[in-house]
Symmetry: C2
Subunit: 349 residues, 2 copies
């Protein structure tokens, strides 16, 4: 590991002009979940989270300053972004401009290779790519802790996609600037742990309730949330030990229970938030059957019906085939440890 605290990814081998930059980021899947905000405005998590960055579903984002017209344009997968998606990108650009002392508008062009808003971590890869590209385009020189805080403002999970492999995002403490400073991501160095993550695409449709709204409702109304947040701290301590040992079964067991606990807090929200669909449970049953047959496989589920299954790389093909056989029409993508967000060298001038 480098001891340089600058963001290596933000220093392309080919210099960019500062007028435009392209970054690539991958989604990450949390094994210890982020659910609940200390501060809605500053996007500060109430709980620590720990994730694996994937090597599939990259998001590629180009930020180009000074368009002919003086307002930002935001394009997502070739179409103009609208509504909440557009608003979030522009709010993020405003933050970068404020720090860079710039008033220049930008064209933002993003391509996701994964369905957007379906619980497949598109906002993690999206805001990680946007943070790296926008910081470079506006000429911000941030170390990686600062970059993770910046990405967090777009989506807390994005802070983790800055890093290769495994990363932790620290919950915030206090309020205001102190809270902002206290919440950042950093890598968790476990070079020997190299599992597979089989992503089971149960449903590609955008979810009915956004993660943001669901988190807020859970924190505000679920009587079970504080107990889960407390138990999640113990889960984190336990999974870090398991990761260091490279113990897939222990990692998987803690990850699955942490995820089920998170969904449990949502079930008890008022009204209930349920991302688990009938097909999700069928996949969970198949994962449980895999374990009974002696294959270590553990499920984790984010804010959507899709299921990600942690297993040994050598078991991944069998796990994927079994899961596909469990639900008609279900497709799978098998991922490994992926790279952190970085500028794409050679694109630009």
């Amino acid at each position: 590991m480098s001891t340089d605290h600058r963001v290596e990814q933000a220093r392309p081998s080919v210099p960019v002009s500062g007028r435009h930059a392209t970054a690539v980021a991958h989604p990450n899947i949390a094994l210890i979940k982020y659910w609940g905000k200390l501060d809605e405005q500053l996007v500060i998590p109430l709980v620590d989270s720990l994730s694996m960055t994937l090597d599939v579903f990259p998001t590629t984002t180009t930020v180009r300053l000074g368009p002919a017209i003086g307002t930002d344009t935001v394009t997502l997968n070739g179409m103009p972004a609208a509504g909440e998606q557009r608003r979030r990108v522009i709010a993020f650009l405003d933050l970068v401009r404020e720090r860079a002392g710039s008033t220049e508008a930008a064209d933002v062009e993003t391509r996701n290779s994964v369905p957007t808003g379906a619980g497949l971590a598109s906002s993690a890869s999206g805001f990680a790519a946007l943070a790296v590209a926008a910081a470079a385009a506006y000429g911000l020189d941030l170390d990686r802790t600062e970059m993770s805080r910046l990405a967090r403002r777009g989506s807390a999970s994005a802070s983790r996609s800055l890093f290769d492999g495994f990363a932790i995002c620290h919950a915030g403490r206090g309020s205001g600037d102190a809270a902002d400073l206290s919440s950042y991501a950093e890598p968790v160095t476990v070079p020997e742990f190299d599992p597979a993550m089989v992503v089971a695409m149960v449903d590609r449709a955008p979810k009915a309730v956004s993660s943001r709204a669901a988190m807020r409702r859970t924190v505000e109304t679920s009587p079970l949330y504080p107990a889960w947040a407390e138990s999640s701290r113990a889960d984190l301590a336990e999974i870090r030990i398991a990761l260091e040992r490279g113990d897939l079964e222990a990692v998987g067991e803690v990850a699955e229970r942490n995820c089920l606990g998170m969904h449990a807090t949502m079930l008890a929200a008022r009204p209930a938030v349920r991302y688990l669909s009938a097909a999700t449970l069928t996949v969970l049953d198949a994962v449980s059957d895999l374990r009974k047959s002696g294959v270590p496989a553990y499920a984790t589920i984010d804010a959507g019906p899709n299921v990600k299954i942690l297993c040994h790389r050598t078991d991944a093909a069998h796990v994927a085939e079994t899961i596909r056989g469990s639900v008609p029409g279900l497709s799978t993508v098998t991922a490994g440890r992926g790279p952190g967000a970085r500028l794409r060298p050679g694109v630009g001038e």
Copy 2:
């Protein structure tokens, strides 16, 4: 309501000899759930529960003293009962014999009209019928509070099936005899509230994990259990007000959230207990769609995949048809408020 504290149901219009007695009891469905024991041995709940006794799925139990052979025989639906089922019935008879100062063995013959052990409250109707029949056969004269404590020893939910319509079972406090005395059931008098309960039979197979084992695991390992138990006290206070107002929508809303909270505590147990199947969630989706279409319908789910839907009697046929259409092969039974457990007059001498 009668002010007589004796159990009216235990006083048949036709006298029985005390040597044998037949009782009929109906299952009840909890709107505020019983989940978790203060005392395993004495079967004392940790939380108050509130239920509706149904007018379907009766259990009929005959207790006949002094069989030719000197050991108890237990017959369930025409077959000799074995294992845990037999053990629980005999332990219950021992309790009755101890109180009656009897050493006589008994033949117990039970017929359930509902699948046993499938989350359809067969143990509630079963132990309510057994308590009433055994008490009469062994000549115990119990008031209804005492009878509810006795039935509770078989299954805490059985204590509620002694009563017509709605009943509450009080959680226990303290330990030993004091705890035993503190936990009993009593009727909740809401004569005007007369809803329907559509029972959706998703799966008739016995559950993989018994309620008893699942409760114990939840209390011992789920970090979310204490918070749910606390919230359930507030739910009870709220539903009692809603019941008194005859407000089906408020009753249903509290009941559904109380049930989802209970299942949430199980999801977070270690390992997780999940009674919710894929078909269960499909039925929950259909219930949610009914509400969106303007039909007040609220789901509650016990320790099994089956779903019970509370609705207005005038909507029951539509609700049942909609639910049947949601899962292939699903059948429904529509229940109303049912009678408390009672001796069957004229059967016996």
